[in-house]
Subunit: 123 residues, 4 copies
């Protein structure tokens, strides 16, 4: 089934410091864009990152195979440039096939975890 939209925006973005478990990727602070490609064609996505005080970074090129989900960690981005922590940003995804995008942050700065998630905005 082909389901979703071609344009997605996450207006919130901020990767906190890693916190007290810096060597555990799952339990240190991170942000994720969860992308579902429920269709039968590979999704080629261009991701652009926006900042408060400089020109945008990107495009980052992301592939999601057909009938697969990708939980893209923003701290894994390296090409064309890594995303610094403790920096306000926003992200725009442009896909060649319909997908659905949801944003999640895990904040591990305190001893315990805080979580938040939201559907991204689509058009």
């Amino acid at each position: 089934m082909s389901i979703g939209k071609h344009h997605w925006v996450i207006a919130e973005g901020f990767i906190p410091e890693k916190g007290p478990r810096p060597d555990d990727p799952k339990l240190s602070s991170h942000e994720t864009a969860c992308i579902l490609n429920a269709g039968d064609q590979q999704a080629s996505i261009e991701l652009t990152l926006y900042f408060s005080d400089r020109e945008p970074a990107g495009p980052y090129r992301i592939m999601v195979p057909p009938r697969r989900t990708l939980h893209l960690r923003f701290d894994d981005l390296t090409d064309p440039e890594p995303l610094p922590r403790e920096t306000d940003y926003a992200s725009v995804f442009v896909s060649d096939v319909p997908v659905v995008v949801q944003h999640t942050r895990l904040d591990a700065r305190a001893a315990d975890l805080a979580l938040m998630t939201s559907l991204a905005w689509s058009s």
Copy 2:
């Protein structure tokens, strides 16, 4: 009143380890799809689960009686197969009557609880 949509997508999905209270279903880690069928006909829903590295699982068949809500726990799914913990997934719901779906995670890995929720994406 019949209210809602026929197609719903939750792009985020990950059931953390149960945490320090594994025998208390309410206080161990879980994810829920909260489904409202406000109409006067039973909702027959087909749920498909998508993964990062394998073909989708399902369909899971879910019934929601008229004028009822169902808080479906993903860790209760067994037929056609259970959903493993600590695994990235996404879910697509196709209902024969209009419903509304909201996604919630309780993460109990730390000593305290973290919560997150989002409306699912509809079409």
Copy 3:
């Protein structure tokens, strides 16, 4: 300005036990429907609560004055009947003028707080 929609649905609903500060309304577990009436006419809203195992409760009648917000606590509802804690429910709001509704839960069962929020679904 008149802005919003007439129908709103919160598919998630569950008021946890009050937690270790039962006499402090702000720091004990609760759920809120935050309603904005940005228009110049009073909003008359009918709220119906749906459950997993019984017929719906309501309608509850809620008034929001023009140019005001109301943070409606579900544990304040009494007429026609109170809403029990630790019970799955969902809610449907029907307003005679456009409003906007957002849902928030504060979970105080653990020593610390957990929060979650989502825009409700509108039509």
Copy 4:
């Protein structure tokens, strides 16, 4: 790319007490409206705040440069008047160019942090 909507509503609003780290802006309680202006023209935004028991405050005038994001902290607002803590409010954004708005709260009242976020409602 010009992407987004002109009207955005955050129905939830409440800035908790600062908590145990009052001198650390990032780790004391706050609320943020994350605004993305992905277009090539500056966004001029009028923000109005609504309350439960008084007439609205504003308009607050906010500028977001082209191709920039602004994480607007509500506790930074001063003109025409500051926003008190521990007060229910809601907010309406009217922009002259398309933008996207997401709402986030960090609650630091307890020893650890709680987070929540939601896409705002657009029209």
